[in-house]
Assembly symmetry: C2
Homo-oligomer: 227 residues x 2
């Protein structure tokens, strides 16, 4: 196979990035509260439709696709994101009507408070998605699956909470993601011994009842997984 002719006859491939920006609404008691940040497309194709924030990779300004994803988020959301991770790459001739396309998809996590800036009508529940442009529903499905999966063995979900949070909030979050209520005692023991949170000395969240100790995330931890 000749490399030169291979390169010369190569048709154009569209190279884009898409970001699944996830957050969680701990107030909503029904469902898991997971929400995804969308945009409304202002150009063809799918003009006027809802879609994931995304766009072309700009070789002259992007250092790599992760940088492109950051740039997209910054222009569409006006801020740097808390956590960003590459999810997977989707490709094919028919997923974009403009031609054969490759989309490197990223998952971003943000807490609900910060996401207040995002227009409320563009924050869709992931368990009741509106019609979306391209194959974006698939990308969201993959992102949510990844997040749920990582919840079972990592500290990743802390990025869905504000800087400080109570252990009850953290437990509630894990319970939602894992789809099963967790035991208070076991959860606290686990979290403590894994040491991915630390107390904020003297900081308490007071409500109607007994005040709760506030915590903050320490380092990112991935737990052991044994066969």
């Amino acid at each position: 196979m000749n490399m030169k002719s291979d390169s010369a006859m190569r048709p154009k491939i569209l190279v884009t990035v898409d970001v699944v920006l996830l957050t969680v609404d701990l107030e909503s008691s029904l469902s898991d509260g997971l929400r995804v940040g969308l945009i409304r497309r202002d150009a063809a194709p799918y003009k006027g439709a809802l879609a994931l924030p995304g766009g072309y990779v700009h070789p002259e300004e992007d250092e790599n696709t992760a940088a492109a994803a950051c740039r997209v988020l910054k222009t569409k959301a006006g801020k740097a994101v808390r956590y960003l991770e590459q999810l997977a790459t989707f490709s094919g001739p028919s997923r974009d009507p403009r031609g054969w396309s490759v989309s490197v998809c990223y998952v971003a996590l943000e807490d609900r408070e910060t996401m207040k800036q995002w227009p409320a009508d563009l924050l869709a529940r992931v368990d009741a998605l509106p019609p979306l442009a391209f194959d974006h529903a698939t990308l969201i499905g993959a992102a949510v699956e990844r997040l749920r999966n990582k919840a079972s063995y990592s500290a990743l979900p802390v990025f869905l909470l504000p800087d400080t949070f109570t252990l009850s909030e953290l437990q509630d979050l894990y319970g939602r993601l894992l789809g099963t209520p967790l035991d208070k005692s076991s959860f606290r023991r686990k979290v403590r011994e894994l040491g991915f949170v630390e107390e904020v000395p003297g900081a308490f969240k007071g409500g109607q009842n007994r005040p709760a100790q506030l915590y903050r995330a320490k380092e990112m931890t991935t737990f052991d997984r044994t066969i």
Copy 2:
């Protein structure tokens, strides 16, 4: 940001796939025995250097990047591969001297017997890699990490063994990948109850000593992971 001008002024991005084809040599007692199938490049850049099997995505014939990876493997190895999984996508302006490139990287697993077809001098130990073209050493590192990781919670490693194998061989393999010797009793109990292998009735592997029952893989299984 105007989509049309965005698209029109878009410089060419090289879109390629690379495959990290892994196998394991259970004979080699030192190290873990993991090996990666390489090719020797017959064209610039890096002409004559060792590299991963890979190549351009061909939009007119490839249904997606996974199909491109299969095609690359078929042309370079002459056969379909046992297991193929997308690893990650690597990108940037400097990883390929020809220009800004995106490489969708795949991990492939094959058993040692089948890999006998691969030229022996192109089957490198992953813990002692020769100098490689592009950033391919990085891709191999990521692939090996992924494999080791999945060994701790999935049946994935069975794809590194022939169709039938003994439980001792399977245990040896897991022990190598996990980097720690496993207990015979516990391992067998686990494998049995997870049920991802089944006996081949009446088939035994006879050596100098007591013959061992042969097993074959059932369905692909991923185990539970709990926080």
